[in-house]
């Protein structure tokens, strides 16, 4: 915590330098000196928008490259700030009158599930207001911070005003204002992080809501659902593939990187991760931990995350906080970028947005050993892929440039095949079992893959023992499950390893992968299942269904 002071020192040093640069006609992130930030006093601290190594734990250039979009350098030469795009913030509330948000609030589009009216302002819950500022805090208004899409419109749905929303309200939050909503930001989940458990849905209403938003939302082009991939990475046991919401093919699952562009400590890996964005992290410097969070709006006054979240040296202006971290913070960064894309090209369909984000993501942490490349079909781009980072870190300028003039892809086609040959999984054996499904190019079609789902059914005494890997005909592998412990929180709030059994089997469980994007579907798909731990815990693979979503050439 003390090192926040240190960060401020670095910030001050930077600002002095930037002021000098500005005086010499250069462009920097200074609060006083640079024209781009003259009216947003905290803009110089927003390293996720413009990283100039202004803080300890930040490296120059590790940002989302958004300034060219605002300045009209990206795309067709016009300044793009998200105008005309409505972003729904599904969260615990939204302070509609906040000084840095009020100008962007869409009239009568918000919803309060507690009082059933259009004002979801909370006097206690700050998370949604933190999220909203990252998306669309107003620019050049003389106060606070700047959102990624500083002229986008905001609607707040306070679904999480209670810890236990009803399933009909969850459905409602996915479909409300579905004609107008362009982006739905979801910095929450129904699966608890960290435990390594694949908790199933209680019902299909959430899924039904998403499908409604995709089919009929935005005049049939589909709402873009952006989802936090999960904060369970710290203990090494959780994976975004154990979360049924982030496995959903209609959802863009967003991981988080720190100020160096590396995987944030808490960010979960997964074959279903689409891309990352800055989410901040705690950084170990000079023998202590300090938080490099994302500066954003907070409940005005002494309520909210500043100072309640515990950053001793947070902003003195308590309408803002610099302590917001998590995939809750990275998802709204992507939502903001999508708002920019939809302003640049309102005709984009939901699948087109996904494809553009994948194609334009920046390969970060380049020496990470998990990076590989896809084997594309003829005419398709080659993608960098990484279980920690998906296709990389979102690049706003590249995404908006690509969006301009993009021709929407053809209708989606689905191929599905099931193999139901039950087979015992050898216990604690490094070889395991392998089964395969062959897809014939003529009989089944050879699709350009967009997404792959695998319905997996196995009974096992300890599902965490299983490593599950799907290998495409191209040789590209998707690690769908890692051998891991299932955990529980003891009465002191400390994570403990569960003995005997996990709460849930993968029986059935739908895993998903975006790692085969642009590859061909025809050929032999191999499934390897290996029980790598806990001698004495046995199981059997019963069936699996391979489902490929794509389009024809």
């Amino acid at each position: 915590m003390k090192l926040i002071s240190e960060q401020k020192k670095r910030s001050s040093q930077f600002l002095s330098g930037a002021f000098l640069l500005a005086a010499l006609g250069g462009c920097g992130g200074s609060e006083e000196g640079a024209s781009v930030s003259v009216d947003d006093p905290l803009y110089g601290d927003q390293w996720h928008l413009k990283n100039t190594a202004q803080f300890v734990g930040a490296r120059s250039g590790e940002d989302i490259n958004v300034e060219p979009v605002w300045e009209g350098v990206a795309g067709n030469g016009a300044s793009v700030k998200g105008s005309g795009v409505l972003v729904a913030v599904v969260d615990d509330g939204l302070q509609l009158a906040h000084e840095d948000l009020a100008a962007n609030i869409a009239a009568n589009k918000s919803w309060d599930y507690a009082d059933r009216d259009t004002d979801p302002t909370s006097t206690l819950l700050n998370h949604g207001t933190n999220v909203a500022g990252l998306i669309a805090a107003r620019d050049l208004n003389g106060v606070g911070v700047r959102g990624v899409a500083p002229h986008a419109s905001l609607a707040g749905y306070n679904l999480l005003w209670t810890e236990t929303p009803s399933t009909t309200n969850i459905f409602d939050a996915m479909t409300r204002n579905h004609v107008e909503v362009g982006v739905s930001n979801n910095s929450w989940g129904l699966a608890i992080d960290e435990l390594g458990e694949a908790e199933p849905p209680s019902d299909s209403l959430w899924q039904l809501g998403i499908e409604e938003g995709i089919s009929n939302g935005r005049d049939g082009k589909g709402i873009i659902y952006v989802w936090s991939a999960g904060n369970g990475g710290s203990d090494g046991q959780d994976n975004s593939n154990y979360d049924y919401q982030t496995n959903n093919r209609h959802v863009i699952s967003v991981c988080a990187v720190d100020g160096w562009g590396k995987q944030a400590d808490y960010s979960e890996p997964g074959a279903n991760i689409w891309l990352c964005a800055p989410g901040g992290d705690d950084v170990f410097v000079n023998g202590g931990w300090t938080r490099l969070g994302l500066p954003t709006t907070d409940l005005e006054g002494s309520a909210g995350g500043n100072p309640a979240a515990g950053l001793a040296d947070d902003y003195t202006d308590q309408n803002y906080t610099r302590g917001f971290v998590g995939t809750s913070a990275s998802a709204p960064i992507v939502s903001g970028v999508v708002a920019l894309m939809l302003e640049a090209n309102p005709s984009l369909g939901w699948r087109d947005v996904r494809l553009i984000l994948a194609e334009t993501a920046r390969k970060n942490d380049v020496f990470d050993v998990d990076w590989s490349v896809t084997s594309p079909m003829f005419g398709q781009p080659e993608y960098n892929i990484n279980h920690k980072y998906g296709f990389g870190v979102v690049d706003a300028a590249a995404a908006v440039s690509k969006a301009v003039g993009w021709i929407n892809v053809a209708d989606q086609v689905i191929i599905e095949k099931t193999l139901s040959t039950a087979i015992d999984i050898p216990d604690n054996n490094s070889i395991g079992i392998q089964q395969s499904i062959s897809l014939d190019a003529v009989a089944d079609g050879d699709l350009i893959i967009e997404y792959v789902e695998l319905d997996f059914s196995a009974v096992h005494q300890y599902s965490g023992d299983l490593e599950i890997i799907l290998t495409a005909p191209s040789g590209t592998k998707s690690i769908l499950a890692e051998t891991h412990d299932c955990l529980y929180l003891d009465s002191f709030g400390i994570l403990q390893v569960r003995r005997g059994t996990c709460f849930y089997d993968y029986n059935p469980w739908t895993f998903a992968s975006g790692r085969h994007l642009g590859e061909g579907s025809a050929g032999t798909w191999k499934l390897n299942v290996v029980d790598k731990a806990n001698t004495g815990a046995y199981g059997q693979l019963q069936s699996w269904t391979l489902r490929i979503y794509g389009r024809t050439q």
Partner: protein, 206 residues
């Protein structure tokens, strides 16, 4: 973040009980659940049948005045509050001081009972699910108001609202496990596309 930690701690209390149970510590669950039929229940989730388990150590209390613990104390004098929601709160029943008959009477009463069981999607633990008392029904074809009201009356349900997808309505069934049972009966009748109990389900900010 603070709320998240609080959530985790509250959940931890529930999970740790399961952990104790697994480790072989004796918890008297059988008597507590008599007449709440079985520990597990089957229901249709809109696409497939699922099983939920009643958590025998916990009880949800509805429409409560935060400062008034008297009703819960009458059922289980030593009960501990483990989750404070806005529409309900969840208590860990004190095994030593509760009487099985008081708990089951509370769960099964049809007089606007203020209690409901707490469910989970695994026999050994997991996130809490509480029935709201409502059932969501999607009909095979659109229904007009007179038909709908007749149908609801026949089923012993009360029409609450229309959902924004075609032919789908929310009905009130009643507290306890009534919504679960009613949804299952309607689903099994084959008259509808689906009949799903409405749950309050734990959600987590990230």
């Amino acid at each position: 973040m603070i709320l998240r930690v609080l959530n985790a701690l509250l959940l931890g209390i529930g999970l740790s009980i399961s952990g104790l149970s697994q480790a072989g510590v004796e918890i008297q669950t059988v008597a507590m659940t008599e007449n709440v039929s079985q520990q597990s229940k089957r229901y249709f989730d809109g696409r497939r049948w699922r099983t939920v388990w009643i958590n025998p150590q916990e009880l949800a209390e509805f429409a409560v005045d935060d400062s008034d613990n008297s009703l819960m104390r009458s059922v289980s004098p030593g009960a501990k509050l483990v989750q404070q929601g806005r529409k309900f709160r969840i208590w860990e029943i004190d095994q030593a001081t509760s009487t099985a008959s008081a708990v089951t009477r509370s769960l099964n009463s049809a007089d606007g009972s203020q209690f409901a069981p707490v469910f989970q999607l695994s026999a050994s633990g997991g996130s809490r699910l509480v029935l709201s008392g409502k059932v969501i029904v999607r009909f095979k074809q659109d229904m007009q108001p007179p038909q709908l009201l007749d149908w609801a009356q026949q089923q012993g349900l009360q029409l609450m609202q229309k959902m924004s997808i075609p032919s789908t309505y929310v009905f009130y069934a009643g507290q306890g496990t009534l919504a679960l049972e009613k949804a299952g009966q309607i689903q099994e009748s084959g008259e509808v596309k689906f009949a799903v109990p409405e749950w309050w389900r734990q959600a987590y900010k990230r």
